[in-house]
Point group: D2
Chain length 344, copies 4
């Protein structure tokens, strides 16, 4: 049994960590911090947790208390982990950061997209990008994990087999992605109101989204050459779920794509390659730490289409964070992550 | 580890049994039957179960195979359990029926509401109404359980404290209930289409609904006098959840209603009396075997208002069925039922 | 052709006035005010209006400009009409107030529910409650209209026939009401987010809601005796629509209730009494200025159940406001209000 | 005032014709046919039409009665218009077919995609593809109109400017399209249930969809060279609306794309090119006969992204059919089509 802390637990990834950790056999939540809600019991804010964390209340961030934890999750806006991670690492606490703070290896690129200087460039060298399907061994040894973003998880898992095998034109990849509204967080903004966002569908950020450089970095690693990516995110009227529709142009004859995907993910506990001809539904992963993928080649032409779905709050955030924790502490990789998706 | 079978597993209560039993430490699913889908793997029909029941396929109902199980759930339309329960009981298999077949003690009343003769009146004597909050000890000894309906669960739990204590006019109780669309089952009917049922709200069955006599029977037991009930169900555009708004007229000064409710359910693991002034949300129980209740007395007048929420597929069906199983087999009452609700 | 102004046009009732007035043959929108959005074109905020009001921008409230209008709508939070109505009336401009400012005849009761003194008690004497089904003749002569609230419209129309005829116990009436989320306005509040309000159902304000005294006032007028009302509003996951389920206890034999309702509303252009046995759906009035009603007497007992649906933004607000305008200016009562509801 | 008939009026495009025609100043609906619902009043099936077509009932198809109409709409499954159009044309009745029967010019290609022989190849020569933005003059003279499909309308309008100007690689165009569930019609199918289709997102028909050859035909006409199209439709959990996200690779320097689009559609009453940088929402056209378009060039690279939204039942079906009717009969092109979209 290890002790963990959660910094910034009032948002959706925070409550999702609590929901999943309630079923984890090896983890106890020692502290959850929130300046704005300090003193409020988590189950008063999230009534689904009544009966699970009845004695746990949000507290002011406290270095001693967090430093006494074996690991601390950051479920915070960008910039916070920059400020606090170093101190925790010095105390011997491992850090699993769900924010974007350590996802980009290049501090200048980070500064450009986030509009402020990188706050902890000295830590970038040891930060491990927490996509187990790529970095499992490094994660096991890591002290500092940058949990991938939601879109980046779906897009990378869908495109890795093709780019690693050099089967598509790396210079012109298209990722048309659709997200439920929890992707926008729990902030009170007019466009996220039910009256505004339901019964409608729209793109956003077509000119450039912060997940673009993160995806590009990961895809470039996989391809071994620079990847040119057009990434258009959309908002779809549902709570959870991301659907990535990925398009690449085949260069030469690719062989059997279904087999390629099945082999690439044969040993992955949380990637499910669907049978040929499938169209995965986001609801099939609702609440579960899974990416389901299908690969199509319409009309046997030179365009390959990959369909990848995740729950943005689970495999796209909190579930993947716990998967990383399990690897770091030598637990079963699926500890706390065994429940089937909620369907219907 | 016991072996269970499921008869009629293609509907929503069937797949929900599988979802919950996947997390049950003491139960193995031996067989799941469906005439129409025999041969189809359950995970091909319900992709959320991929990775959980990969070898389980629907099969033709087979008395020998079901009779070899320790317990069999019926997740069937009415009439089926009538036909099969007797044989299974003779073989020593316990029967947990999620349909309406054994809910009414009076075979003639059953015949009147269901438009056909009761098919197994001889079994009515030993059938136990599976509401643990009322019949826990009888359930422990039972061979045949009639799992309560979804509306009846919410309405009875909400009204029991008041009627048992004789605090309201039993002759004039009102239950205004709202259900998500899974309450109508998985049948392909035009009114259940997303294009018809979303962005709309309506009542149905105002002239009389089959759950009325079941609720009335349970409330009358609690009150000790005949209960006059007006029950109006409504359809609300969501997948899961029932919200019962219950109105009674106080007879005399009732004392502290909050305390009354808290005491009545103090030892109940799956009834959560919310703090005074609360308004429980259905999402706070989504996927969980819980009934959350709040009691109000507007303007300190003579009308008491009770708000009770459940997930119709869990505490209103499959979760409650497993709770009964746990009691019957001496397992922890919450075995397989510990996960928090999925929120958001 | 008359000229109208709209004060406070950024909310949902403001845009709904614009949507409906775009089809009105006798009205031109001269000005629409908003301090916070002054200078913004309405079609930049509400793209559905592109092509309809391309030259109309929000402006600072300006007494001269508004006073040059024949009529001014207030689509404002409470208190604003108190401050401005008097001056406009002096200039000869008629005022149609969609807020709560002039709905209660008793300034002290108003102050109690709204937590501030009534700002224009001198105008209460001439304010006409704009429910045409009750006050049509007074509306024709009025200079100042208090447009009824959304819940009050549905509840009063559903109960008027019974209370006017003295058929139910006026001391114990129950209104169980369900509203879509636009009823909560366009304010950015966490509970109104799609991620919070969809896939869920809840009651709110069970202890007392500001529409209670307004409804009670109207029902008491109809009954001729004080009406005791229990009013419980609920939030249902949809954009538009109110469904009122109304319960009354019959005193004596009521005769044919269907006929009673049909006769009461025989000449009403915007009340539709559905055939006996009907269950009106809110979507059947989506976007339309209509109240559809059905009356039931379950089991031929002593409880009568009325089902009434409106679109909260149309018959519950902006449509009704225009219906009042039509009466005040001698236009056809349905001018601008002839479009069928949008279904599906 | 002309008389029109509607064949097959029980589906969503049928009721939408009635909803729109109720506001048309020049059209009277003389007959609406349905074998299955003959004798049923349309307002009993579609209560939103109560008060609008109270005397109109579905009738058996009758050549004399339909032939006495000036124009007949077909809102039928494919094959029906093949069988009936010829006879009506001989009687001098103009035919506006909302089905796919006359959309493809090549009868063999039609037969291949629809799995049955083309039933009226002799009429193909005079059938006019009813996209006014391309064929306005031909439509004015036409006796037989093939109303474009919903996806084809959005995709063609979004790509026409680029292909007509030869700015993108015609061999590799991608159309990633998202539709609300009314696109699947009113048939009672399990995947269209609210419990199955809401809170989820999925692709379908990735291997080939019947709208593909129709789109390809239109785009090829525009480009003057064969167009290679990858078309992936998706189902999004909402009632109405299509969002097309279109990707093309620029060949050479394109000049100002915003100006290109604005000029192409400068005189089009029902195409709205949004300001640069916009992301049109489907709700901004809900219920309205409009296509709103935005064009983006992310990172100033060689990929152009076009966003196009329509209401699939209006500009994607019934509204466009009426626009064609207006052109054919010399009415104002926007007669009956002037109402703003319903938002929120």
């Amino acid at each position: 049994m290890i002790k963990v802390g959660i910094v910034g637990g009032t948002g959706y990834t925070g409550v999702e960590l609590l929901r999943l950790l309630a079923q984890h056999p090896e983890v106890e939540v020692e502290a959850i911090t929130s300046r704005s809600e300090a003193g409020v019991r988590v189950c008063d804010m999230y009534p689904n947790l009544r009966g699970h964390y009845d004695d746990l209340a949000f507290s002011e961030p406290d270095g001693d208390r967090l430093g006494a934890c074996d690991a601390v999750f950051f479920a915070t806006p960008h910039g916070v982990a920059h400020a606090l991670a170093g101190e925790l690492l010095e105390r011997g606490t491992r850090v699993i950061d769900l924010s974007a703070d350590f996802r980009l290896r290049d501090a200048e690129e980070w500064a450009e997209w986030y509009g402020q200087p990188h706050g902890a460039p000295a830590l970038l060298g040891e930060a491990v990008y927490g996509l187990p399907e790529v970095n499992r061994e490094a994660i096991r040894q890591a002290r500092l994990i940058a949990v991938p973003g939601c879109y980046p998880t779906a897009v990378q898992l869908g495109l890795l087999p093709l780019l690693e095998a050099g089967l598509i034109d790396a210079g012109h990849v298209i990722a048309d992605c659709k997200s439920g509204v929890t992707g926008a967080g729990r902030g009170a903004k007019v466009p996220s109101l039910l009256a505004e966002a339901s019964e409608s569908f729209k793109a956003y950020g077509a000119a450039g989204h912060r997940h673009l450089p993160e995806i590009r970095q990961g895809l470039t690693d996989a391809a071994g050459v620079p990847v040119g990516l057009t990434f258009v995110p959309h908002l779809t009227p549902m709570i959870r779920g991301i659907h990535a529709t990925l398009y690449g142009r085949l260069v030469g004859e690719p062989g059997d794509l279904q087999t390629l995907f099945e082999q690439r993910f044969a040993d992955e506990p949380f990637v499910d390659v669907m049978p040929a001809g499938s169209h995965p539904e986001t609801r099939s992963v609702k609440g579960a730490n899974l990416c389901r993928i299908a690969v199509h080649r319409p009309g046997n032409g030179d365009t390959v289409v990959v369909l990848a779905v995740i729950d943005n709050l689970v495999k796209g955030a909190s579930g993947q964070a716990i998967q990383n924790l399990n690897l770091m502490f030598g637990f079963a990789e699926n500890a706390g992550l065994t429940a089937p998706a909620l369907m219907p």
